[in-house]
């Protein structure tokens, strides 16, 4: 790899997985508490986008008494611009399987699931093969653990953890009220750890090398590396493992096409950052980063000056209007009204000031929608309308 990259590359996730048997055996020889402490001191945060501390999640679930507990690997990767989880599952499946089994050991679960989105059906066969090899080894070392694949059927909302449980229970994928949280009341009402594919793959790295190796990467409050799915107007689209905490201007210098007008950080549910704010924005969880820090599930979509931000927003809102589960009014009606609203302004049927009413509506959705989908529509809506207001009108 060339040393001239502006943003430093890392290589943990896709590095060989040939030693998974050793990592599994050695980790099973440690106490659950040791493993939890390893995760806590690594400061690993969930890589699906929400950033909940992984060690704490495992700890909370391990402390609950229950006849049955579950581990679920969330592979319902549906956020526009994200495609890293598929790559992990096809290139290093044993890392993920090992992590699922170790989580089971820590919390006291005998069964794990991989909820795989319907769009990734083609991964299923290879993954099943890996699982049977994995389970065979578990039997050999007398560790009783089963992993099943549960297929989704084309619903973005099922990536929301409680909607995912509903879906696995044979129902419409409608999010539940929280609390209770999955750690206490998850799949079938049992304590459940649900982690993103990438989060689990990082736990493998942490158990293999120890927490320090991971902790030393990244910056304060945003430790370790992260996979970024890079697409749009870039000469090098693809998946890259980068340290958290980089500044967006370095990112754009590295991955842009010299004409980058804006970057969408975190997919359609994330934020659009215009060129003038690149240098004041860092990628990572809130903390001591330069300027504003934006968390992300790793979706980075670049737009150059040939792109209309109205078309971008229109595309997102169509997406949300279709993928809203329809359960709560703010999201069901809000998404449709935002979409209708920007079209009306564009056509001149509503005055430009109507955009301010729509911004109010987006804010209302942020406060009143039941789940992350409806709440996060305001992220992209507000950041696009505020930064590219003239493009919405003319």
């Amino acid at each position: 790899m060339s040393a001239n990259h502006i943003v430093k590359r890392a290589d943990f996730i896709f590095k060989n997985e040939n030693d998974w048997e050793e990592v599994l055996t050695k980790s099973l020889a440690r106490t659950p508490n040791e493993l939890i402490n390893e995760l806590i001191s690594s400061e690993l945060k969930g890589r699906g986008g929400a950033g909940f501390p992984t060690g704490l999640k495992w700890k909370l679930t391990s402390e609950l008494k229950s006849d049955e507990k579950f581990v679920i690997c969330n592979a319902d990767e549906g956020e526009p611009g994200t495609f890293k989880d598929r790559e992990i599952l096809s290139r290093v499946p044993f890392k993920v399987l090992t992590a699922i089994a170790l989580c089971g050991y820590v919390i006291g679960a005998k069964q794990g699931f991989i909820y795989l989105r319907g769009e990734y059906f083609f991964l299923q066969q290879e993954l099943k093969k890996a699982i049977s090899e994995f389970e065979f080894f578990c039997k050999e070392i007398k560790y009783d653990f089963k992993i099943n694949i549960f297929m989704g059927s084309g619903a973005y909302i099922c990536g929301e953890e409680t909607a995912l449980f509903e879906s696995m229970e044979g129902k419409r994928g409608e999010p539940r009220n929280k609390p209770p949280y999955p750690t206490a009341y998850g799949y079938l009402g049992k304590p459940t750890v649900i982690n993103n594919v990438e989060t689990l793959a990082h736990t493998f790295t942490i158990f293999k090398y120890g927490s320090k190796r991971f902790y030393d990467l990244g910056v304060q409050f945003s430790r370790g590396t992260k996979l970024f799915s890079i697409s749009g107007d870039t000469p090098k689209p693809g998946i890259y493992e980068l340290e958290l905490g980089m500044s967006l201007s370095d990112f754009v210098d590295d991955f842009g096409d010299d004409d980058t007008k804006a970057v969408q950080v975190g997919g359609a549910s994330g934020f659009l950052v215009p060129r003038k704010k690149f240098s004041g924005t860092s990628i990572g969880f809130e903390g001591k980063l330069v300027g504003i820090s934006l968390p992300t599930g790793g979706s980075m979509m670049l737009f150059n000056s040939s792109r209309s931000m109205f078309n971008v927003l229109d595309n997102y809102l169509n997406f949300f209007a279709e993928e809203s589960c329809g359960q709560c009014t703010p999201c069901r009606v809000g998404c449709q009204q935002l979409l209708k609203g920007i079209k009306a302004v564009k056509r001149g049927e509503k005055p430009a000031s109507y955009l301010d009413k729509l911004l109010d509506l987006a804010e209302t959705m942020q406060y009143t929608a039941k789940c992350g989908l409806g709440q996060s529509v305001a992220n992209s809506f507000t950041s696009i309308v505020e930064n590219f207001r003239e493009e919405m009108i003319y």
Binding site: E77, G78, E79, P80, G81, T82, F83, R86, S90, R117, G118, E119, Y120, F121, F122, L123, E126, F150, M151, G152, S153, G154, A155, Y156, S167, M168, E169, G170, K171, R172, G173, E174, L188, S229, I230, S231, G232, D233, P237, G238, I239, Q264, A268, M301, F303, R307, N311, V312, N315, Y316, N318, F319, E322, E323, C325
Partner: protein, 163 residues
């Protein structure tokens, strides 16, 4: 092709008759039939001892569980932002031109249905589409003609991840 009643019974034997087995059973019917007819929903409800409204409610929630008759090959073209920026329109035009159907329609011979879908997770290789479970990426009108040509003769060219 198994008769629906037998198919549903086999699927229930395989997956179980709990509510939590509903999705795999619905998926199993769609795998063979390409869609869920009213009749198949009745059969599933009867086999699992569920109200048919519950089966209907679940089935209609998921975009890959079609509830109207589909063609043998369901084409789903990704329309989300990156694919839309990288030429989804040209891809749709090429398909429509070749098959003489619009979005949402099925060819006269029942072979192809054309649909749009949301993000397939191949943004770095946009534009992308699925035909049944097979994914095709970095599409161009030329590639479309080649791929659909292979389906027309039932000699399917493999997609992205077929080994």
């Amino acid at each position: 092709m198994k008769p629906i009643t037998e198919l549903v019974k086999d699927l229930a034997d395989k997956h179980g008759r709990d509510r939590r087995n509903l999705l795999p059973i619905l998926q199993g019917v769609v795998e063979q039939e390409k869609y869920l007819s009213e009749y198949s929903m009745f059969e599933i409800a009867r086999e699992l001892d569920l109200p048919v409204t519950e089966v209907y409610g679940t089935a209609t929630f998921y975009s890959f569980l079609e509830c109207k008759k589909m063609g043998k090959y369901i084409i789903r073209v990704c329309k989300t932002i990156t694919c839309s920026m990288k030429g989804e329109r040209q891809i749709l035009l090429a398909i429509q031109d070749m098959l003489k159907i619009k979005i949402g329609e099925t060819t006269q011979d029942g072979k192809f249905t054309l649909l749009e879908t949301n993000c397939l997770g191949f943004c770095h290789k946009a534009p992308a589409m699925l035909i049944n479970n097979e994914v095709y990426t970095e599409l161009t009108p030329e590639k479309i003609r080649e791929i659909l040509g292979s389906y027309l003769h039932d000699k399917i060219i493999g997609g992205e991840h077929v080994s």
